[in-house]
Amino acid sequence: MSRDVVLEGADRPFSIEIADALQAHDLGVARAGAERPVALIINRAVALNPTAFEAVTDDAFDAALEDSLLEVLDLIQKWVPRLADGAAIVVLTSRAHLGAWGAAPEAAASAALAGFCRTLALEFASRGTRVNLAAADFVDAYASDPVGRIRVAEAVAWLASDRAGAISGQVVLLDRGRGLQMREAQLRDLSAP
């Protein structure tokens, strides 16, 4: 049986680590012309260039939608008819869907992608295909944190594997608790240095 995984966005941060992490599940990134891949991983990791909401340009907004939605649509339409039965789709995005400073285009695009992936999970369930969204921190947060990148990759590889066979239509937050707004919470602790 094929253990081929298609990795789209191979030139983006996390992709090298994802290719490594797949090996733990006896999976490997396919060369061109993959036969009936068992998983499709679409890497849309987001590098944040913080911009105040009032200053966001139309071009920046459109670019985020192009990257996260229209290109993902193209890739889904290209690969889904070729996937093996019971295949997994994992899309990697950022935690921006929860809202973040200076990240209006990314927030809109990531949240839209979350809704889109939930819809794909519903539509592809009859094929036995699972679809999940992995929401990591912005790539800049891992600049000096190679272990953090590996942990994100391990979670993505796990979602792509049969071990995660019970999970579909979910947004899995891989932000190490940043969603808890710890920095903001510490600001309220007046005894903190």
């Binding site: 939608l65 649509l73 869907h97 809202g99 809109a108 949240a111 889109f116 819809t119 519903l122 539509e123």
Partner: protein, 242 residues
């Protein structure tokens, strides 16, 4: 006496938008009712005895037109981004780029343009309310619509994170099935079948959504920011057991 607060509602010629415009006017606000449909706006204006609702022909995606409107009208205190489209059901594998782009342009980019031009000029105490849809949670055959409305929710959160320091609250309302022209694409049989699946057994009246928007626009909702209010009588909690 200070002049009453000014509200701007998009997609206001009919349906939920019209109900919101009428409700906010009843609450004492002056309302700019914006819509692309001049004829329907004239019908709305003709139905009013007072001049508390002014009709404005506006395409939410037309940035120069939106900016010019805000420049002309001065500070707007409440903005309701309601303009939106639905479409026929299209499975993701058959969805074209063009159909996806059009949906995102009207429902998401239009909301972004109006909200941004509003935020650039909005005084402290302002409110921005974006009309999403229960559909943002996902729905087979509606990937483009779902994505556009989920995007509105994400945009709402990002705006709330930033604008809270200027005293501006940004929230979203996600209605379930509402009795508007958006349902006109369904046959009567399909519509009845859909209504039976609603916890209330029928589509909501647009005024029910307007009530929620009026609350979010009022001082009573000061503490609510960056939230999505699901207004679907609990349908999104899941279907009853068979």
């Amino acid at each position: 006496m200070p002049s009453p607060p000014l509200a701007l509602v998009t997609g206001a010629a009919r349906g939920i938008g019209r109900a919101i415009a009428e409700r906010l006017a009843r609450d004492g606000l002056r309302v700019l009712a914006c819509d692309v449909d001049a004829e329907e706006l004239a019908v709305l204006a003709g139905s009013r005895r007072d001049d508390d609702i002014g009709g404005v022909v506006l395409d939410s995606c037309d940035r120069p037109g939106v900016a010019a409107l805000f420049e002309r009208e001065g500070p707007v205190n409440v903005v309701v981004n309601n303009a939106g489209i639905a479409s026929e059901m299209i499975p993701a594998l058959e969805l074209t780029r063009e159909a996806f782009q059009r949906m995102l342009a009207v429902n998401l980019r239009g909301t972004f343009v109006v909200a941004q031009e509003a935020a650039r000029r909005m005084p402290a105490g302002g409110r921005i309310i974006n009309i999403a849809s229960r559909g943002y949670l996902g729905g087979a055959g509606a990937g483009h619509y779902v994505a556009s409305k989920a995007g509105v929710v994400g945009l709402t959160r990002a705006m709330a994170v930033e604008l809270r320091w200027r005293g501006i609250n940004v929230n979203a309302v996600a209605p379930g099935m509402v009795d508007t022209r958006m349902l006109s694409g369904f046959t009567e049989a399909t519509r009845r079948s859909l209504e039976r699946r609603e916890p209330a057994g029928r589509a909501a009246d647009p005024s029910a959504i307007a009530d929620i928007v009026a609350f979010l626009a009022s001082p009573d909702a000061d503490q609510i920011n960056g939230q999505v209010l699901l207004a679907d009588v609990g349908k999104s909690l899941g279907a009853p057991p068979l």
